[in-house]
């Protein structure tokens, strides 16, 4: 008998339980060795960490605490970003009047004024005023949690769930990274040793809404979902909707991981050692400065770099006519029937397609598309913003499906490039594109058709 035959034979003796038993036994023996051979002169001093861990990683409180923490971070972000966002938008609006005056003083041709001010300037300032405040609050808050030592506990809590779907517990850390930027998170999957589980983490990372999609999600959650509320309650409802969206993304992550680990990426999850560092009081000043200045700034610079050309391009498309309609209109009309099937419309589809380089620009492109056709030309407040959408036939269903599509759709260009760099495989990069896309089409489709079937709309 050869070794291979013996191996096949022996697999009948093996059970799924055996690996756990072996590892558990190793740990028990290590523990006993320590009991016998190591003593502590002073009382073990880090009882604080143990006590906190008993709460944070408890089977009962662990998950509720996690969801509450997530909610708190979102709430702080949303409530805190409101005022500075408005101030920034006002400031840019005020500046635009002077720019307009300057351009008419210089007698610049209309097309140049349109392209530079109505396209480039409006597009990029939009990105800045919508994105900068949430980022400047979200990153530091998240970094504080990280420095405090809470994130490894999240990985610990999630481990059981990930194991059930055949994935790796450290995937929750890469997901946490995804809240900031999926492209960076794809690189961070290097912390997962097993190639199989790493691939799962890469393919599903996109279901965590990155910073570029926050703007979109926050705007629609507050405009359409929390429309009936005001003040603090409004922020609370918006937070609730966002937490719901994020949890839905997590559910999709689990589902896709589970399907993949039963099919394309089959195998059993490897076990691993997760170090739970002691809780430390974070260096608040350092953390806040480093994460808000360096991280927010670099994300913003990237966003503006991509947003600027895209904004110009959109303006050009919207203003160059073929026949009697613009290029943009042709494309919109072409995509409209498909968009309608998903409870969306042609403009939204175009915005997502042109938004491939960066999720940040989806919303500005959408607005420019609507504005280039409607009678409204100025967006002075959030009320105006909502009116633009309503004028184009938006309902809560459109907003919900838009949010879901944004949550689930294909990764941005940078992320795809990183996936290719990390996997060195066209096949997996393509899968990373097609799996979310199919899901992003299916779920809004089902919701739209169900709602219409039951006549809820």
């Amino acid at each position: 008998m050869s070794l291979e035959q013996l191996y096949t034979e022996a697999q009948k003796l093996s059970t799924k339980q055996i690996r756990d038993d072996i590892v558990q036994h190793l740990y028990e023996t290590s523990y006993q060795l320590c009991q016998e051979g190591v003593s502590y002169k002073k009382a073990k001093k880090d009882t604080k960490t143990e006590k906190l861990d008993a709460i944070f990683t408890s089977p009962i409180f662990g998950f509720p605490i996690m969801i509450i923490m997530l909610g708190i971070v979102f709430y702080i972000t949303i409530a805190g970003a409101n005022v500075p966002s408005t101030l920034l938008a006002d400031f840019f609006g005020w500046l635009e009047k002077y720019l307009t005056a300057l351009f008419s003083f210089l007698h610049t041709p209309n097309w140049l004024y349109g392209m530079l001010v109505l396209g480039l300037y409006r597009g990029t300032t939009w990105v800045i005023s919508v994105m900068l405040p949430p980022m400047a609050i979200f990153f530091p808050t998240f970094a504080l949690l990280e420095n405090y030592g809470y994130l490894p506990r999240v990985a610990f809590n999630m481990d059981r769930l990930f194991k059930k779907v055949g994935a790796h517990g450290k995937q929750s850390l890469t997901m946490a990274m995804g809240f900031g930027c999926n492209a960076a998170a794809v690189i961070s999957t290097r912390i997962i040793e097993s190639p199989r589980e790493r691939m799962l983490a890469i393919l599903t990372n996109n279901f965590v809404p990155c910073n570029g999609r926050w703007g979109t999600l926050i705007v629609f959650a507050s405009l359409f979902m929390a429309a009936g509320f005001t003040g603090g309650i409004k922020s609370l409802v918006t937070t609730g909707v966002l937490v719901g969206i994020v949890l839905f993304g997590v559910i999709v992550t689990f589902f896709v991981s589970w399907v993949l680990s039963k099919t394309l990426l089959s195998g059993i999850p490897t076990h691993y050692t997760l170090e739970l560092p002691p809780y430390r009081k974070p260096k608040i000043f350092d953390t806040v400065i480093r994460s808000s200045v360096t991280k927010s700034w670099s994300v913003l610079v990237r966003a503006v770099k991509v947003a600027a050309p895209a904004a110009v391009l959109t303006w050009v498309f919207a203003n160059i006519n073929i026949g009697d309609t613009s290029i943009l209109q042709h494309a919109v009309q072409f995509l409209d029937p498909f968009g309608k099937l998903l409870g969306l419309d042609g403009y939204i589809m175009i915005a997502f397609i042109l938004g491939l380089p960066a999720n940040e620009i989806v919303l500005p492109i959408l607005l420019m598309g609507y504005l280039s056709t409607g009678s409204l030309t100025e967006v002075d407040s959030m009320i105006d913003l909502k009116n633009i959408f309503i004028a184009h036939g938006w309902t809560w269903l459109t907003a919900l499906n838009m949010m879901l599509f944004s949550l689930l759709h294909y990764p941005c260009g940078t992320t795809l490039v990183n996936i290719y760099k990390e996997t060195k495989s066209k096949k997996w990069t393509f899968l990373a594109f097609i799996i979310p896309t199919v899901i992003a089409i299916l779920i809004p489709f089902i919701i739209a058709q169900t709602v219409r079937f039951f006549g809820w709309m």
Partner: protein, 231 residues
């Protein structure tokens, strides 16, 4: 020079000061070497002691020796198939409970093991007292306390290596007893494995890995045997 050569492998969890120990012992006598049929290169260095030359091999830092990652496979394959004369397991004195896992796994694979409990200076500051004699009795192999950073405990370490390769110290590395159910299964296949692979690798260990479904090890054994032409 006529010195006798002995190969000493260093394993340990990441951040246990394994490389500090390696550098402190070998100084500038280092080079990177490939070994038979492998593309992975490992840092090697040597140290002379009493007419002997100890060739030290710095294996990748790992938490375990299951084949979870490339690093773990490299470390595992070296211990299992290259058969170093002595394997030094470097442990972090401040987190022994986690570190012992690796030591236990190494002892399942090979007999000549020395447990080096490093960072002893830091542990003492934290009020951690390690009773190395008691551990030695429990584990059946030499247990030494060292501080690689302060170069404490080196003479004792080199002397212990020397006495193991001379056969003055006989290691009887502690074997984990698994729950009865697993032990029965091990017994069932251990004999057959021994008939196939002989004494080259511990049959008990291979049996355990097979039960755990470690296919990569089987492939590696087959490959190793073909390489040596006795399969």
């Amino acid at each position: 020079m006529g010195n006798e050569y002995y190969r000493i492998a260093l394993v340990g969890n990441p951040n246990t000061g394994k490389s500090t120990l390696f550098n402190a012992l070998t100084g500038l006598r280092q080079h990177t070497g490939n070994w038979a049929g492998k593309t992975v290169s490992l840092a090697q260095g040597s140290v002379d002691f009493k007419n002997k030359t100890f060739q030290l091999i710095d294996l990748p830092g790992t938490y375990s020796l299951f084949s979870n990652s490339k690093d773990e496979e490299v470390a595992r394959n070296y211990i299992a198939f290259e058969k170093p004369d002595v394997t030094l397991v470097v442990l972090d004195a401040t987190s022994l409970e986690r570190n012992f896992n690796l030591a236990l796994q190494v002892m399942e694979m090979t007999t000549n093991v020395i447990i080096c409990i490093n960072l002893i200076d830091i542990a003492e500051k934290q009020g951690i007292e390690i009773h190395e004699k008691r551990l030695m009795n429990l584990m059946g192999v030499p247990v030494l306390k060292i501080s690689a950073r302060n170069k404490l405990g080196f003479p004792m370490l080199l002397d212990t290596i020397d006495r193991i390769v001379n056969g003055d110290i006989k290691c009887q590395s502690f074997q984990l007893k698994y729950p009865e159910e697993i032990e029965k299964k091990i017994l069932k296949i251990e004999q057959q494995i021994h008939e196939i692979i002989g004494d080259t690798v511990s049959a008990r260990w291979v049996a355990l890995r097979i039960l755990d479904g470690d296919e990569s090890l089987i492939n590696e054994i087959t490959k190793q045997f073909k390489l040596r032409g006795d399969y």
